[in-house]
């Protein structure tokens, strides 16, 4: 692996979290650099989603630090983490089901709204100018992700693949520099998975993103990730290029078990 001497975008330092006696993540360290597309894999229950929850503030680490763009964001609340530029999607889709596709995306613009709540209550023109601007931006974004035809549909009425894409669009609308995708290909057929892989790559290039993704589908991980970290029992057991990971005996052991 070539040495990068620039500062990492995200640096996880010895992250540890214990729930009661159960240590879900233990001494997890990893660095992500701007423009990276890094995968996080591991058997079920290895602690992958917990790592995401530690980064985004859903959980507070027992030990260790999360450094983003040189700033310590350990213990920030989830909404604050979003404002510094980290967005995520969820393993089990969490859309705002009764809201329309457009409204789902518009929610993400709320955090950057300038107007006070009194402005829309009194129907002030200053509010409507702002609303118009964010609507235009939301439309553009939906166009870019190929959901422009369904802006008025309720989010829960979309087919599964489009719901996944809407979740990504909603995350992109918060203007992140780091995007965390939690099993984006879960439940997709091979055709949908292929489209998704193309989509993720395109999003990274179009939106100048750094992407960190959890995935079970090895085709996805090996196909698009430039670097992969492997977890087992809450610990990082390997890190490297897809080629290195494929041949790493500890990874094979974690996935296939060991011969006596």
């Amino acid at each position: 692996m070539k040495v990068k001497n620039k500062e990492p975008l995200l640096s996880l330092e010895n992250l540890t979290v214990a729930f009661g006696g159960l240590v879900a993540v233990s001494d997890f360290s990893l660095q992500l650099f701007s423009g990276d597309l890094v995968g996080l894999i591991g058997p079920n229950g290895a602690g992958k989603t917990t790592v995401f929850n530690l980064i985004t503030g859903q959980y507070r680490p027992t030990k260790g630090r999360v450094i983003f763009q040189g700033k310590d964001i350990t213990g920030f609340s989830p909404d604050l983490v979003t404002t510094v530029g980290i967005a995520r999607t969820f393993q089990n889709i969490r859309l705002f089901g009764n809201l329309t596709v457009l409204e789902n995306v518009l929610v993400s613009f709320h955090v950057r709204l300038q107007s006070s709540f009194l402005a829309p209550m009194f129907s002030l023109p200053s509010y409507w100018r702002e609303e118009k601007a964010i609507r235009r931006e939301a439309y553009d974004l939906l166009e870019a992700v190929g959901l422009a035809d369904v802006t008025k549909e309720e989010a829960q009425s979309l087919p599964y693949g489009e719901q996944r894409r809407l979740e990504i669009a909603r995350a992109l609308a918060t203007h992140p520099s780091l995007l965390l995708l939690d099993e984006p290909a879960a439940g997709m057929n091979p055709q949908e998975t292929r489209e998704l892989m193309e989509f993720i790559k395109k999003m990274r290039d179009d939106f100048n993103l750094t992407i960190f993704l959890i995935e079970h589908d090895m085709k996805v991980v090996m196909g698009i990730c430039e670097r992969i970290a492997v977890m087992d029992f809450g610990m990082k057991i390997a890190e490297g290029t897809p080629e290195e990971i494929r041949n790493n005996p500890r990874v094979i052991e974690a996935y296939l078990g060991v011969e006596d």
């Binding site: 985004t56 859903q58 609340s77 989830p78 909404d79 979003t82 404002t83 967005a87 995520r88 969820f90 969490r94 859309l95 705002f96 089901g97 009764n98 809201l99 409204e103 518009l106 929610v107 993400s108 613009f109 709320h110 955090v111 709204l113 107007s115 709540f117 402005a119 829309p120 209550m121 009194f122 129907s123 023109p125 509010y127 409507w128 100018r129 702002e130 609303e131 118009k132 964010i134 909603r170 995350a171 609308a173 918060t174």
Partner: protein
């Protein structure tokens, strides 16, 4: 402002003009009984729309609007009660300072209503800060307890509330001009908020808290905003109510009031502001019409004695029927909008051609 928003605003202001014309005609031609029902309906509109903001839009189950209405009601009553009346009413224990030294003249009625709303909003802030940080049903329990505490205070803090005797002889300032204006403008403001980015954030909290927070919505601040605004308008509704019936006592704002409002917002559709407006009117009229079922009834040779409280039984049955056949209320979470009305009119014209 886009073209549609401009059109909607103009249509809304036209509706306001029509309403004002209607009020001036109603004040002249309608009998006092009908006017009384209309006044009550408008006050229910203010309270129900405010209640729907926290329960239906934000999805936080509050059971305390009776407490906020009581605070608003007592505040307005104490501010507006004339000094002479204050000496007569508080014969058990004199009213505490500073309220015994002044009384608002009639032209400060609007200010009194605002102060009533602000007092209720302040109470909402104080309860909201500890409870809205928690997830789950804590708000329901805390607000239910709050409503009861306010009731106990109203009964026992005699130097301020005159206890169970209540306060009588409050000047009857409330008329259709006041109630219709408050109903209109509170719907206007709350709907403006609900249709804005703030409304979307509140609905996002209702739909999925974890996702809303992950999209940058500060849960606590937005729940608090919704709760405090809801408290403000409930307080104003309480103030209008006491100056309509000229008296206030602890029995006026018991849990029954919250239950009435709950019926209104559930029947109208949780999350539908315009639905609450429609059902608030239906409820106010039904309450009067159903007085019949509480009166003695004679069928042929049999005479059934009147049963007080029968109305609530009828409402309960109605609620059960609604829950079976229209689980999401009359309007679900949909709103009656100008666009909808225009589409309907256009659709009818086209089908006639």
């Amino acid at each position: 402002m886009g073209r549609e928003e401009k059109r909607d605003l103009i249509l809304t202001l036209l509706l306001f003009a029509v309403l004002m014309l209607g009020v001036s005609l109603a004040e002249r031609y309608l009998n006092t009984y009908l006017i009384r029902i209309l006044n009550t309906a408008c006050i229910y509109v203010v309270a129900a729309v405010a209640y729907n903001l926290i329960n239906g839009i934000t999805g936080q189950f509050s059971l305390g609007p009776n407490g906020f209405m009581a605070i608003g009601g007592y505040t307005v009553a104490i501010l507006m009660l004339p000094l002479v009346q204050k000496e007569q009413v508080y014969f058990l224990q004199p009213l505490i300072w500073p309220f015994n030294s002044f009384s608002f003249p009639s032209h400060l009625f609007l200010l009194a209503l605002f102060l009533g709303g602000l007092a209720a909003a302040l109470a909402a802030l104080l309860i909201g800060i500890p409870t809205l940080r928690l997830r789950g049903d804590y708000l329901a329990i805390a607000t239910f307890g709050f409503g009861e505490i306010i009731n106990v205070l109203a009964n026992n803090f005699i130097p301020l509330t005159n206890g169970a005797l209540g306060i009588k002889g409050i000047p009857e300032y409330t008329n259709l001009w006041w109630t219709v204006n408050w109903a209109f403008w509170s719907v206007f403001m709350i709907k403006g908020l609900v249709n804005s980015s703030f409304g979307r954030a509140l609905k996002a909290i209702r739909e999925n808290e974890v996702a809303a927070e992950a999209m940058g919505v500060n849960l606590f601040r937005h729940k608090l905003l919704s709760f405090v605004l809801s408290g403000f308008f409930a307080g104003v509704a309480g103030g209008l109510f006491v100056t309509l019936i000229s008296t206030v006592s602890p029995s006026l704002f018991t849990f029954t009031m919250t239950f009435n409002l709950l019926i209104i917002i559930v029947l109208g559709g949780l999350g539908s502001i315009t639905g609450s407006v429609v059902t608030a009117f239906i409820f106010a009229f039904l309450q009067e019409i159903l007085r019949e079922v509480e009166a003695p009834i004679t069928i042929g040779a049999w005479t059934f004695p009147g049963i007080p409280g029968m109305r609530m039984v009828v409402f309960s049955v109605l609620l059960v029927v609604m829950m079976i056949f229209y689980r999401r209320g009359l309007f679900g979470d949909k709103e009656i909008s100008w666009q909808l009305i225009i589409d309907r009119i256009k659709g009818r014209n086209e089908s006639e051609k």
